[in-house]
Amino acid sequence: MFSSALRTSFTALRAPTRVSAVALTSPSLAFARRYITQEARNKLQQAVSSTPVVLFMKGTPEAPQCGFSRAAVQVLDIHGVPPEKMKTFDVLEDSELRQNIKEFSDWPTIPQLYVNGEFVGGCDILINMHQSGELDELLVKAGVVSPEEASENTSQTQSQN
């Protein structure tokens, strides 16, 4: 489904729609970058906006194929993200998606989490946010979990420690 939609043509647009979020000057910014086509970018934008929570991972939530993807799924599970509000894409099933999503987000690794169409981060950031309580905050603000559920989940997590 995704692969055919993402087939890139050779009309690669050289102009990125988005300036890199990092305003810091770095010599490597001068390197030529491979830009994904506008079409592929639009498809991905639609995909990440289709559901409140979207996770690009290796494998499936039931059978993750990488420890980092597994950790991401587990964190989302702890926070009680309901299945109907979450969608996952297995990048191992689609090598083009695997490459394109990295360029789309300008993020080099998988998993990648999006909430309400916005890139949140990878596994390290997710775990960081889980520990600091920012993830609960974000999920509540995004309307993914209710405030009651969030506090319940947090207390459960604490009691497990």
Binding site: V22, L24, S28, T109, G121, D124, I125
Partner: protein, 89 residues
């Protein structure tokens, strides 16, 4: 060619002032998996995503050649808090 911890260290030190740096090879020697812990004042005023993006950009070439990469980024102030917590536990 496998990436060495020295390559990563050189790239990080060249890009920002470093208060503390720890690079761990988590690949059992094949040079494919690294975990870095960077403390720098360059992170001041930036959220985690911006910090990680900065490191990703600095190590762009290296990360592209590895299988897995994990990072932890703190400001010097946060590092002091972190050390205090480590000492307390």
């Amino acid at each position: 060619m496998p990436i060495s911890a020295a390559d990563l260290e050189a790239a990080i030190r060249a890009a920002m002032p470093v208060t503390y740096l720890e690079i761990e090879d988590t690949s059992n020697g094949c040079g494919e998996n690294y975990s870095v812990f960077v403390v720098s004042q360059a992170f001041e005023g930036k959220n985690t995503l911006a910090r990680h993006r900065f490191i990703n950009e600095v190590l762009k070439k290296e990360i592209a050649q590895m299988h897995a990469f994990s990072q932890k980024t703190l400001t010097p102030t946060q590092y002091q808090t972190y050390l205090a917590q480590q000492a307390a536990s």
